[in-house]
Each structure stands twice: as structure tokens, then as C-alpha cells.
């Protein structure tokens, strides 16, 4: 863990992943983005069976192999070595994205650069002139997966809000996010606006609101 993370208040990266994992139901087919989202797989509560999809062509992704036990050409979407569980299936890319676009995957957890109060997501480009644009499967995932969760630090490393009224970065998808897990809180995107669902230990509603550009609704206190 780096010092930057230590200095942040509220939940750690692992705790954010653990909190999100609580909301993955038994029997779900799940796609996890690179970074904090993929850590959620370690924290699924005992007794739940969850199948992980990796969009490069495997349903039934298992944990990473031990060092020295990597299997040739068995990798995840982040191009890291993985394992396949008993009962796994390999398939080509068009089938893999049919699972995504065809609304067969139940939950996808992604990282974010910005999320708006209407559930718009920006997570692929800052739009900077010299940036090399790269999108991967993010736009397909938000267009097709039934439920999109986001895990992100509440603010940028400069302290700017990432949960905003309107995204300034190019969109990945419009109105696609349903729940946001940050180091400070769990927030639901609803037709009424952003509803604060849960606070990290020691964090107050006002502390979260000060770091959120969009207004938050406190449950039972509209």
C-alpha cells in the first residue's frame, strides 16, 4: 500500500473492494475492471458462488497463479496471468462481447475518472490533445451489463471532486452507473439524485458533501 492511500480518510482500497463485494449476490456473473475493482473477487462473502467473466474470452476466471506456475496464454483483460476454475469456458471475442452487450452479465465494477449525479461515467480519456486515446471494452460494458458499480477514491489526488454535476471528460456512457463505492461513502444514483446510502467509519455527511460537487440526499431527510 502506498503512502498516498494511507493519508486518505475512510476506507482503504481493500475495504472499498470488500464493501462492494457485499453487494454481489450469490449466483451472479460478474466482470471486474482493472485496479481496485478486481480486488473485489477476494472478498465475496462465504457461501456465495460467483462466476467471473474476463472479456478477452473466459468465463470462470480464478485467482492469479503462484509465481512460477503461470500458464501460457491464460491471461485476463489486464493481460495478467490468471487461472481457470473447474467448469470454466473459453470463447472468442464476439461471443465474449455478446455476453456483455446482450445483457447476460449481471454486474460490472469499474473505476472512474468522473461520475455525474445522473450516472454518467467518464473513465477512458481526459480528452487532452496529446493523449493517446484508448477505450478497450469500457463502452461495451456500460452499454450492456445490467448493473454498473463504480469503485473510486472520492476525490482526485489534487483533492478535486470526482462525483460531479456534469462530467467534463469525454463520456464512456450516459446514465449507466447505479452505485458508487468510494473511500468515504456508498452512494446510489437514483431518479431523485445521489442518495447517500452508507458512510465510512468516522466520516460525516457534511465531510462527504464538501468533497462532492453534486448535492447528496440523506436518506429519510430529503
Amino acid at each position: 500500500m502506498n503512502t498516498k492511500t494511507e493519508a486518505l480518510k475512510g476506507w482503504t482500497r481493500e475495504q472499498m473492494a470488500q464493501r462492494a463485494a457485499l453487494d454481489i449476490p450469490d449466483g451472479a456473473y460478474v466482470n471486474l475492471g482493472i485496479g481496485i475493482p478486481e480486488m473485489a473477487a477476494q472478498f465475496v462473502p462465504a457461501g456465495r458462488e460467483v462466476i467471473y467473466h474476463t472479456e478477452n474470452g473466459l468465463l470462470g476466471m480464478g485467482p492469479p497463479p503462484a509465481v512460477g506456475e503461470e500458464i501460457t496464454e491464460l491471461i485476463n483483460a489486464g493481460k495478467k496471468s490468471i487461472t481457470a476454475i473447474p467448469g470454466a469456458a473459453y470463447f472468442h471475442h464476439a461471443d465474449s462481447f455478446a455476453m456483455i452487450r446482450g445483457q447476460h452479465i449481471d454486474i460490472c465494477i469499474l473505476g472512474a475518472m468522473q461520475v455525474s449525479c445522473e450516472g454518467d461515467l467518464a473513465n477512458w480519456s481526459t480528452g487532452a490533445a496529446d493523449a493517446i486515446p484508448a477505450v478497450g471494452g469500457a463502452m461495451d460494458l456500460v452499454a450492456g451489463v445490467k448493473t454498473i458499480f463504480v469503485i473510486t477514491q472520492h476525490t482526485t489526488k489534487h483533492g478535486d471532486p470526482k462525483i460531479v454535476k456534469s462530467c467534463s471528460y469525454p463520456l464512456t456512457g450516459k446514465g449507466v452507473v447505479s452505485r458508487i463505492f468510494t473511500n468515504l461513502a456508498v452512494i446510489d444514483v437514483t431518479p431523485e439524485g445521489l442518495v447517500l446510502k452508507e458512510l465510512a467509519p468516522g466520516i460525516s455527511f457534511d465531510y462527504v458533501q464538501e468533497r462532492t460537487e453534486a448535492p447528496l440526499i440523506l436518506k429519510g431527510n430529503k
Binding site: N56, T72, E73, I75, H92, H93, G136, M139, L171
Partner: protein, 236 residues
């Protein structure tokens, strides 16, 4: 008699001409036909349009083909790699064109091209910069953008096993774009780890039926991109 076997990777890519459109299989190193790509570097065809999910790693395989300035345009979803500056450098200098396509749209465009479908509608990229300038249409209560099928002059594909008919099986997540690219190219060139007798592959387990394959050559001990990159290797 049908026999799609060719004696070498060099002979297999010999007729690729300047300006050709080439689909290259692989997602990262899984399924990357490095020996065929290196044969194409030796062969020297230029001004190529290459369709691949990425732009290669280090200075071998696809990255080496790009570095050798044989590629004038890339059609891909993710042209950045942690360990390669080859594409970003040429792109920033205006030496290579990029058509950025969402990954699932790229796969479906290739599938459609191979299936004789000229265009289709997808919900992916609606309300984003990647949908700008594209035709859109509402079906039910949702907006979709039109995307065109993709075909190619050649496909370079890596398989685990082949028979002389061109029936193929792949290795784990190396399958990725292989089956759909085999369908979408005029001439599909395959490097197989092993060529087996006709009938040795159970018809129930054939992944790519031989009708989609034109040439097969054996590369029994294919190089792995990550190993070459780790060793600091470059090609040629």
C-alpha cells in the same frame, strides 16, 4: 486433394502486397502470431492497414512491424501498452493513423464482415465522442449507432493444432480474435503449434472449421512476447 500446408512462414506471407489490410490475431501476447509477423517484417510489405486489439509490446511482433514503418493505419481498441512507446511515438509524430473502436464493436465488426453483414446497430458508444458523425437510429426506447463490418485481405492467426483441411483448435485465452478473423479475411494464414492427421481433431471440438482457413504452417515452439520483451529482444 485439399492440402493447405505451406512449408514455411516466409512462403506463407510471400504474396502480401503493399497497401494490404491485415487482421492480426491475439490479445496482448495470447494468440499473437509472432513468427508470421516477423516473416512479414522480413518480407517488407509497406503501407499496411492492421486490425488488432492493441499495438504490440516492446520491440518484437506487432510493435516491431509498426516500428519498421510498415503500418500506415491501425484499427484497434487499446493502442497503449505499459511497455511499448512504439505506437505512441509514431502517432504523436503524425506517422501513423488510428481508428479507435470499442473492443466489442471491433469484435462484432469483424464477425459481421466474415458473416456477410455490411453494417449493424449497436448501443455501444452512444452519447460518446466515438459515436460522433455516425448514423444512429432508435429501436424501442433506445438509441443505437451504425457500425460497418470489417473484412481484410489477409489474417495472420496462431492456433494450437490444425489439420490439412484447416480445422483449428486454440489454446485457452489465445482464442480471442482468431475464429472471427479467420472468417473475415480473404486469405487466412495460420501458424499452428502442430499439424495433425485429418480426423485426429474430434469434430465436436473443432473451433474454426477449415473452410475459413487458406494456409497453415507449423511453428512448433512459438516465441512468447513477454519472454522476448523481458529479454530486451528486438526484431529484426
Amino acid at each position: 486433394m485439399i492440402d493447405k500446408r505451406i512449408e514455411s512462414v516466409a512462403a506463407a506471407v510471400a504474396d502480401i502486397k503493399d497497401g494490404a489490410t491485415i487482421m492480426i490475431g491475439g490479445f496482448g501476447e495470447a494468440g499473437s502470431p509472432i513468427e508470421l509477423i516477423h516473416a512479414l517484417i522480413d518480407q517488407g510489405a509497406k503501407n499496411l492497414t492492421v486490425i488488432n486489439n492493441n499495438t504490440g509490446s516492446g520491440h518484437v511482433g506487432l510493435a516491431a512491424l509498426i516500428e519498421n514503418e510498415q503500418v500506415s493505419k491501425m484499427i484497434c481498441s487499446f493502442p497503449r501498452t505499459a511497455n511499448s512507446t512504439v505506437f505512441p511515438d509514431l502517432y504523436r509524430r503524425g506517422k501513423i493513423e488510428l481508428e479507435l473502436v470499442p473492443q466489442g464493436t471491433l469484435a462484432e465488426r469483424i464477425r459481421a464482415g466474415g458473416a456477410g453483414i455490411p453494417a449493424f446497430y449497436t448501443p455501444t458508444s452512444v452519447n460518446t465522442p466515438l459515436a460522433e458523425g455516425k448514423e444512429s437510429r432508435i429501436f424501442g426506447d433506445r438509441t443505437y449507432v451504425m457500425e460497418y463490418g470489417l473484412t481484410a485481405d489477409f489474417a495472420l492467426i496462431k492456433a494450437e493444432q490444425a489439420d490439412r483441411y484447416g480445422n483449428l483448435i486454440y489454446n485457452k485465452t489465445a482464442r480471442n480474435f482468431g475464429p472471427i478473423m479467420c472468417m473475415a479475411a480473404n486469405s487466412t494464414i495460420v501458424q499452428a503449434g502442430k499439424i495433425v492427421e485429418v480426423g485426429a481433431i474430434d469434430p465436436e471440438t473443432v473451433i474454426t472449421p477449415g473452410i475459413f482457413v487458406n494456409r497453415i504452417t507449423t511453428v512448433s515452439d512459438p516465441a512468447l512476447e513477454s519472454k522476448l520483451v523481458k529479454e530486451g529482444r528486438s526484431y529484426p
